[in-house]
């Protein structure tokens, strides 16, 4: 079942298209890694999809009223902001804002916190945690929103290897439970290892979409990322190693 349908979506900055007629479908069980070089339009595509930017074309989420959007998709921007010295539990509880139901809120918050390993952090001040721990708190906030879709902008940026793998495992677990996840990821090895599909963006266009093996071809890596790389699917998952700049 399709959770998100994007048709011919474009975003203009002045005269210049930063996202150019992108069409994409996200179904239950999809964990889509949005890859591409800096400035390819990944963040802009996700923000427009959520209705956070003016755009042309259609997104099945942005066309909804703000409250309905919040019930359909949760969003984790790259910039991690927690303005006040609130407790971890209070931050996670913000995820219930659009879906507030007194009899279900506590369970949703607890589940999200346990999933992100935060059960012992509940009363800690969120702003006093490390960057990686704050990232986990914000992911838990998004999980507490209990939406069918989760969009995350570089969720593993500035995380240590353990936190990166743990984060990707959480997203993959969500997909296996029937959610749809889109995450922009710069680490192609991590994306190839964890995502069910990759969407390769270049200069605002969706250049390739498919399984990691279908997308991470020598030709795409050379044309888009301007690198040569070693890529192999092994019993332990995909192994990707950039080798040289062209």
């Amino acid at each position: 079942m399709s959770l998100l349908s994007i048709n011919g979506l474009s975003v203009l900055r002045g005269e210049c298209p930063v996202v150019d007629h992108v069409s994409l479908d996200v179904a239950e069980g999809d964990f889509i890694g949005l890859i591409g070089p800096n400035g390819a339009g990944k963040t802009t595509l996700m923000r427009a999809t959520l209705g956070l930017l003016p755009h042309t074309g259609r997104s099945s989420v942005s066309s909804l009223a703000p409250r309905e959007r919040a019930k359909r998709a949760a969003w984790m921007p790259q910039h991690r902001e927690i303005a006040w010295a609130m407790s971890v539990r209070d931050v996670v509880a913000l995820g219930r804002l659009s879906k507030h139901q007194a009899d279900q809120d506590d369970a949703a918050i607890e589940t999200a916190m346990i999933r992100m390993g935060l059960q012992h952090f509940a009363h800690r001040v969120a702003t006093q945690l490390s960057g990686g721990e704050q990232a986990r708190v914000l992911i838990a906030r998004a999980l507490a929103q209990q939406t069918p879709l989760l969009l995350a902008d570089e969720p593993t940026a500035s995380l240590d290897p353990e936190s990166q793998l743990a984060t990707m495992d959480v997203f993959r677990g969500l997909a296996q439970e029937g959610h749809g996840v889109i995450a922009s990821i710069h680490d192609l090895g991590l994306a190839a290892r964890s995502c069910t599909k990759l969407a390769l963006m270049h200069q605002g266009k969706l250049l390739a979409f498919g399984t990691p093996t279908e997308v991470l071809t020598k030709e795409n890596l050379r044309n888009v990322f301007r690198i040569d790389a070693y890529y192999e699917m092994t019993a332990h998952g995909a192994i990707f190693q950039p080798l040289s700049v062209i």
Binding site: R47, L50, G51, L52, P66, R67, R69, A70, K71, A73, A74, W75, M76, P77, H79, E81, I82, A83, W84, A85, M86, S87, D90, V91, L94, G95, L97, S98, T127, L138, R141, Q145
Partner: protein, 326 residues
């Protein structure tokens, strides 16, 4: 309601009672209360026509400034924000100054507050037009700074062109802010605007909570940013414009009170609204009592005392919390 609210309510009631009891006419508490309720004799005139409006205005000024300060800090996610940042109090002051300078204020008692409120309304329209339709906070700050600077420049011009030294004194004293010599008419003029403003700001609790995580995240959680900003600007303008119109410009309350109370409400922006409203009322009433105790026969201005209390307190708070702010 959070844990600190009952304490704040009790202190506010005490300060209100103190404001009613303290003044030049030194009468026992029981006699003052009887005079306030029964309304007979000269003491009743003092209680009903001088002290009651003064105490009520103290609460209204404090609640408006405290509530607006907490809302502005929550919206802008900045502990240094205060109601004056969007230029409403500056514009209301300008309206009052112009009415004093031109002599319009002497035509009828409502002329001065009406001028101040009209100027606040013009400022709101200007700010919302300048800030544009999309609901970002940066454009609001920039529009507020522009309106504030313009209001300041025009106030200076009005002073510069003042027809005589007495008019200048009158303007300068008015700008300093005071609750002295106000009547129940002033209360009735400001109260409807205050109530509307308070209700609008109080409705923003969930939006301010969501904004703790940034504008993008708040929008993705179903918060309509443009609507939030419009309610905030109109709510602050109605309440702060109204109290500035009847009391003059009183600073620091909206800056200091949320700052002091933030930790007591676990930094939740929605809880801080109510606590700051009560805390603002306490601070203004206490300062107005201090005005009467420090210089009983003189004309010490509330705005001056507020700044004398507020500035050192603010310095102390910055010193104490500088580690957390960096």
């Amino acid at each position: 309601m959070n844990k600190i609210s009952p304490i704040l309510i009790a202190v506010l009631i005490l300060c209100f009672a103190g404001s009613l009891m303290i003044g030049q006419a030194d009468a026992p508490v029981g006699q003052s209360l009887r005079a306030l309720i029964t309304g007979d004799g000269p003491l009743a005139r003092v209680m009903q026509d001088i002290r009651l409006p003064r105490a009520l205005l103290g609460v209204m000024v404090g609640v408006s400034l405290g509530l607006s300060g907490a809302a502005m800090q929550g919206y802008l996610r900045n502990p240094l924000a205060e109601p004056g940042i969007i230029g409403i109090s500056g514009a209301a002051s300008l309206g009052a100054v112009v009415s004093l300078q031109t002599g319009f204020a002497t035509l009828f008692w409502l002329a001065l507050p009406a001028s101040a409120l009209s100027a606040a309304l013009v400022a709101v329209l200007l700010i919302l037009t300048l800030a544009g339709p999309r609901g970002g906070s940066l454009t609001l700050i920039l529009a507020g700074i522009a309106v504030s600077a313009l209001a300041g420049a025009l106030t200076s011009l009005a002073l510069n062109l003042s027809p005589n030294p007495y008019a200048t004194y009158e303007i300068v004293f008015w700008i300093m802010g005071s609750l002295a010599d106000r009547s129940m008419d002033h209360v009735w003029v400001a109260l409807p605007f205050c109530l509307i403003g308070w209700a609008m700001i109080a409705s923003l609790g969930p939006a301010l909570n969501a904004l703790s995580l940034g504008e993008d995240t708040a929008a993705s959680m179903g918060i309509n940013l443009a609507r939030t900003r419009m309610i905030l600007v109109i709510g602050v303008a109605a309440s702060v414009g109204a109290v500035t119109a009847v009391s003059g410009s009183i600073g620091f309350v909206g800056l200091i009170v949320p700052h002091i109370l933030r930790n007591f409400v676990l930094a939740r922006p929605s809880s801080l609204l109510y606590a700051s409203a009560l805390g603002g009322g306490i601070m203004v009433l206490a300062a107005d009592i201090a005005v009467r105790l420090i210089l009983p026969s003189g004309d010490l201005k509330l705005g001056v005392v507020m700044a004398l209390i507020g500035a050192p307190l603010f310095l102390h708070l910055i010193y104490k919390t500088r580690g957390g702010l960096e």
